[in-house]
């Protein structure tokens, strides 16, 4: 009995190991190793040329320098806001694609949402700049319509950054939302309607509980993308953007202070982890369930 079962089990384990190997290699070489290196970097301080000592100085700088604090919080708040706005915008679109325009029309609408993503993010963002800059299309149009006396600068505002972030994130919110809404049986909605529920009650008691894993998954993805976005805030926000990834970039590239940059990187990682965990706690969900069901 044992003799017969053992080789089978070994083969199964070997197969599993081989299947997982690329993923494990990827994770190990490209994610874990650099982070270990960054971790080591962040906990040391340069005391002289090529002389380093272990220290918490990098983290201390972060907590004592108000600018860093300010940018850190601002990035967090704006990312949360951008995530919520993306959700508000994506939900009706996902509902239309999943429930109203089914079949061919649904796929067509989805492709329309997908097409902009064939263009690189840089080019798309530059497109926004052409539209919004002072000598651009939209300010000229507003001036011509008499809504503004002279063309106004629409770039370099917080609102501009928001627009760019929501636009960039929309697809990543749509995909999990559509798949979770498509799996909602229409007869559940009809049954709720039949039992006396109005539109808002159906949304609150049936649709949102059903789509919760999709909503959470979309929010996690969008939040992480937004928090770690560098290009959009930099291009659309200019000097005023004050995005935390910029601080990291500055430390690594401009100041050549890798120790400080590594510490900032870890702080950003801690921030995104903390906020995702808080979000899951607040909505009473588990990370594994969310990723499996959406």
């Amino acid at each position: 009995m044992l003799d017969a079962a053992a080789p089978g089990r070994w083969t199964a384990r070997l197969n599993l190991g081989l299947l997982l190997a690329p993923a494990l290699l990827w994770l190990g070489a490209l994610i874990v190793l650099p982070h270990v290196e960054l971790g080591v970097l962040s906990f040391r301080e340069r005391v002289g040329p090529r002389q380093y000592v272990p220290s918490l100085a990098q983290y201390r700088t972060f907590f004592t320098e108000p600018l860093y604090w300010h940018v850190f919080l601002r990035t967090a708040v704006m990312s949360v806001l951008a995530t919520l706005m993306t959700l508000m915008l994506a939900f009706p679109i996902a509902w239309t694609i999943a429930k109203i325009a089914r079949g061919r029309a649904g796929s067509l609408l989805f492709i329309l949402c997908l097409i902009p993503f064939w263009v690189s993010e840089t080019v798309r963002t530059l497109g926004w700049m052409i539209l919004l800059r002072e000598s651009g299309v939209l300010p000229a149009l507003l001036a011509k319509l008499g809504l503004t006396a002279v063309p106004v600068e629409l770039l370099y505002h917080d609102a501009t950054i928001m627009v760019g972030l929501v636009y960039t994130s929309l697809l990543f919110m749509l995909i999990p939302l559509i798949s979770s809404l498509e799996s909602l049986d229409n007869s559940l909605i009809e049954a709720a309607y039949d039992l006396g529920a109005g539109g808002f009650a159906i949304l609150r008691t049936i649709v949102i509980p059903h789509a919760a894993p999709g909503i959470t998954a979309g929010c996690i993805i969008v939040f992480m993308l937004t928090l770690g976005n560098y290009l959009t805030p930099t291009l659309l926000g200019g000097k005023n953007s004050q995005w935390f990834t910029e601080q990291i970039y500055t430390q690594f590239i401009t100041r050549f202070n890798w120790e400080q940059g590594a510490a900032f990187g870890f702080l950003l990682l801690a921030l995104s982890t903390a906020l995702v965990v808080t979000g899951l706690r607040l909505t009473g969900q588990r990370f594994g369930d969310v990723m499996r069901r959406s």
């Binding site: 007869s187 049954a191 309607y193 039949d194 529920a197 109005g198 059903h210």
Partner: protein, 382 residues
């Protein structure tokens, strides 16, 4: 106030290419069990969805409890529906499912929990309130779906083939349970099904529906014993269908069989002659279709064994279809080789019948019925 909980007046619904419901009028008396029986695609689901309010009729009016439902949304109608797939809310417990409608009406939490628990007890699910929906068996879910609707004390409960998803044994059981529940609650039930046995067993009245119209509306006994149209005769219960032309209509035939109605003689294209009660006026040469129920015919090993005074026919046993109380034998008529089904009596007299045996059979002409042939239906026998 009328005594009808549901009144439909000339209700019609057209979809782009066909008429789903065609100027239908009927009434359902308070506290009765009404079934709409028809094959798939006959428009019964459209009709039910119009009563529930999910679809608006193109013309005509539906009144529930004496009040016109024109422009009244589903969530404001005194009607609740048990869906085909039940549509229990998987995100809620059994108790929350039952209390859902009460919550929408603004009933306080403690009160609705109490009423949901009481309703669950009435349907035999006491103490199941905390369970999850997927912990229940098929029959229990069925009862939760009914409880969820009945707790709102609707004027009308609509049921959309709710037994369709169950296996045969449970379906038989639930049929009885549904009838008992309806009797216990006294709520008016409107039930749609394509299963004639469900309709016959459960209903006080049945409307047989085909192509958007009622072919016949009556008690189950009416439909079974006195079908008004060939469709009803063919759809309700098993039937032998024989297509032919009228060859004799004289009064002597009726007298010979002491029948209440006129009896005509029918001859098929290949020359088999039978007699049947005619439904509607007929004259010689008319194309007709006749129906003979399997249990109406008597079987004998020799013509002498048959009851006297009936024209007897000869046949050969093709196959014996043993099915306990529903056993039957499939014969072929001697001269024409036409298939004819006869129910076997429960006496065990024919338990040793073998394929190939010669037998005689006969039936009372007034218990067979014939109709003018439908256009396009004159071809093969069913």
């Amino acid at each position: 106030m009328s005594d009808n909980d549901l009144e439909a007046a000339a209700v019609s619904k057209r979809f782009s290419d066909h008429t789903a419901v065609d100027s239908l009028s009927f009434a359902v008396a308070r506290g009765s069990f009404f079934s709409i029986l028809g094959p798939s695609g006959c428009g019964k689901t459209t009709l039910l969805r119009m009563i529930a309010g999910f679809i608006a009729p193109d013309s005509g009016d539906i009144a529930i409890g004496g009040r016109s439902m024109r422009g009244v949304a589903p969530n404001r109608r005194p009607v609740n529906m048990v869906f085909q797939q039940l549509a229990l809310f998987p995100m809620m417990s059994v108790g929350e499912n039952v209390a859902f409608g009460l919550a929408r009406r603004g009933v306080e939490r403690a009160e609705r929990t109490r009423r949901a628990a009481a309703m669950l007890e009435r349907v035999g699910l006491a103490g199941a309130a905390q369970k999850r929906v997927d912990e229940l068996s098929g029959g229990q879910r069925q009862r939760v779906a009914i409880a969820r609707s009945l707790v709102l004390e609707p004027t009308l409960l609509l049921l959309d083939e709710p037994l369709g998803a169950l296996d045969l044994k449970l379906r038989e059981h639930m049929k009885i349970e549904l009838k008992q529940l309806q009797a216990a609650f006294g709520t008016t039930f409107v039930y749609i099904t394509h299963d004639q046995s469900e309709a016959l067993v459960l209903s006080d009245h049945v409307g047989v529906m085909s192509q958007g119209r009622f072919e016949q509306l009556g008690t189950p006994q009416d439909l079974y014993y006195r079908p008004q149209t060939p469709f009803v005769a063919g759809f309700v219960g098993a039937n032998n269908r024989i297509v032919g032309r009228v060859t004799r209509t004289d009064a002597g035939l009726a007298a010979a069989h002491a029948s209440t109605g006129p009896v005509v003689e029918i001859t098929t294209a290949d020359g088999w002659t039978i007699r049947a009660r005619s439904q509607g006026a007929m004259s010689v040469g008319d194309a007709v279709e006749a129906f003979v129920r399997p249990e109406v015919a008597s079987l004998g090993r020799a013509p002498q064994e048959l009851p006297g005074g009936q024209p007897s026919h000869a046949g050969d046993v093709q196959s014996v279809l043993f099915d306990g109380a529903n056993s039957a034998v499939l014969l072929s008529e001697r001269a024409t080789r036409r298939e004819f089904r006869i129910a076997l009596p429960q006496t065990g007299q024919f338990s040793d019948l073998k394929p190939g045996e010669s037998v005689a059979f006969s039936f009372e002409p007034e218990r067979a019925v014939c109709f003018p042939a439908r256009p396009g239906a004159a071809g093969q026998d069913a």
